[in-house]
């Protein structure tokens, strides 16, 4: 097997980050295998967002390293960011621009030439069934549709890694299940590696791997089946709750 197939898409090693006396991340290490859908499960305040901010180069870790397809985010941020498509927790769209303009802006930021961008945008809009909304201003769209626009945008550059930070926040049940189906279909078709942070276990029940983050530490890391077996329960949801409970008991 060639090295790049076996190498991790994301390798996080010994990552720590504190805000004053609060340790948001404490010696966090895990790997996201190339081509996998990896869930990053954690309750609110577990450190998921801090981790994402370090992964995307917005924050600098106090200690530890992150590499994305072999490129270190601190040492080679431009190359590392070039591998990523990101959907942020908070919606990030220019509300005054149209759907197509938002996507074109992003394509430009990633250095895509115009004709290539146009084709990629058309394909992305079609994939998420929002082609007919291309000329509408984002301000006029519902929350669920805006999320589709953001997903389409993250994929315009055909990234090898898709980072999703609680992408279903604020969505209704239907939009949420569409989002889940879209992401898993995409990963299966294109082989895109996905790192998906959420506290909603149901969304990522189909993930290849699960990393549970609790109070800034990795509390569990394995396949869903492994986590369920280790906790001696019958579902991933129950396993997650058990891990979170034991983590809380440990801290108390």
């Amino acid at each position: 097997m060639p090295a790049e197939m076996t190498a991790a898409a994301v390798a996080v090693a010994g990552l720590s980050k504190g805000y004053g006396r609060v340790k948001a991340l404490d010696d966090v290490s895990f790997a996201v295998p190339t081509g996998s859908v990896t869930a990053l499960l954690g309750l609110n305040g577990a450190g998921k967002t801090t981790l994402f901010q370090i992964l995307t180069g917005l924050f600098v870790a106090d200690a530890g390293r992150v590499s994305v397809f072999g490129d270190d985010i601190a040492a080679a941020p431009v190359r590392a960011l070039g591998h990523m498509g990101i959907v942020f927790q908070q919606p990030v769209l220019d509300l005054d621009l149209t759907v197509r303009q938002n996507l074109a802006f992003h394509a430009g930021l990633h250095g895509l030439k115009r004709h290539r961008a146009a084709a990629a945008i058309a394909a992305g809009l079609a994939r998420f069934r929002i082609g007919d909304l291309a000329a509408r201003r984002v301000r006029e769209l519902s929350g669920g549709t805006r999320r589709k626009v953001e997903l389409a945008r993250a994929l315009v550059t055909s990234p090898r890694l898709l980072l999703l930070d609680e992408p279903s926040q604020g969505l209704d049940t239907r939009s949420r299940s569409e989002l889940v189906a879209d992401v898993f279909a995409l990963a299966a078709e294109r082989g895109t590696t996905v790192l998906w942070a959420t506290h909603l276990v149901a969304e990522v029940a189909g993930a290849d791997r699960v990393v549970v983050l609790h109070r800034g530490r990795v509390a569990a890391d394995g396949t869903p089946a492994e986590l369920i077996a280790a906790e001696g329960v019958d579902s991933l949801e129950a396993a997650f709750l058990a891990i979170a409970r034991s983590g809380a008991a440990e801290a108390a």
Partner: protein, 265 residues
């Protein structure tokens, strides 16, 4: 450092600007009002005798025009930094900062966008002034261009630097109140010798220390086809330092960003 990144950032600012025609109107109404009202009121009070770059006695409106052009640049510089603070609050800044381009280059692209908008507005105001019959040398639109570009960059840089320290929209509203101050304490509205004549020495000192004075003088000399090296040097130095400090401020390793948690989860 692709040109595509630069074009994308400029293109977005132009698109946004086009959607906000009220911005252009308000950007022009203020200096136009000053031009019309002040020159009517002060025309006979403030005659301007022959001082460089003027080769003859000039009326007050003619004196004011370069200062007002400087104010158009100043206000657009602040407007652009306000837009950046807004981008940060709306999250759009994350999109910019996670683009696979060096951070200084992304900030430079923002600055180019700000300068483009500034220069466009300055020219529109120049046309308005011409409609009001304010005299300018025939070649002024041409000789002014480099000065307006540098002035737009420099004041845009200062605005960019402000966004490093002014982190929230509400605080920025307060800051905007002070934007007009540099114009008062400069040669935009009256020549420095008028203040010297009045004997208020401290104001003379402030005017000499105020970088905006040099932006205005650079524009004034350029309008008459003359190159005033000191004002170019000061403007360029202020612009460059402000830009370098901004780049430092936006560096997650050294600057203000990344110190405080945001939307912690």
């Amino acid at each position: 450092m692709s040109l595509t990144v630069l074009l994308a950032v400029v293109w977005r600012e132009l698109l946004r600007f086009r959607h906000q025609t009220s911005r252009l109107v308000s950007a022009l109404v203020r200096p136009t009002l000053w031009l019309v009202v002040f020159s009517a009121g002060f025309q006979n009070v403030l005659g301007i005798s022959i001082t460089p770059p003027y080769g003859s006695y000039i009326t007050y409106d003619v004196y004011m025009l370069p200062g007002l052009l400087g104010m158009v640049l100043l206000f657009q510089g602040m407007q652009s930094s306000l837009a950046l603070v807004f981008d940060r609050e709306a999250g759009m800044l994350r999109l910019l900062l996670t683009a696979p381009a060096p951070r200084w280059f992304v900030l430079l692209a923002k600055l180019v966008a700000a300068a483009v908008l500034s220069v466009v507005q300055a020219y529109v105001f120049l046309a308005v002034a011409a409609l009001f019959g304010v005299d300018m040398p025939a070649l002024a639109p041409l000789t002014l261009l480099p000065a307006l570009v540098l002035g737009g960059f420099a004041l845009g840089s200062v605005g960019l630097l402000l966004t490093v320290y002014v982190r929230r929209m509400e605080n920025f509203a307060g800051t905007m109140n002070f934007v007009i101050f540099p114009a008062f304490f400069s040669t935009a509205l009256f020549p420095i010798w008028k203040v010297q004549d009045s004997g208020t020495a401290w104001i003379v000192d402030v005017i000499r220390l105020n970088p905006f004075t040099y932006v205005v003088e650079m524009i004034r000399f350029a309008a008459y086809g003359r190159f005033d090296a000191p004002s170019w040097a000061v403007t360029a130095a202020v612009g460059l330092s402000a830009f370098l400090l901004s780049v430092r401020g936006y560096d997650p390793q050294k600057g203000m960003l990344g110190r405080k948690p945001r939307n912690e989860g």
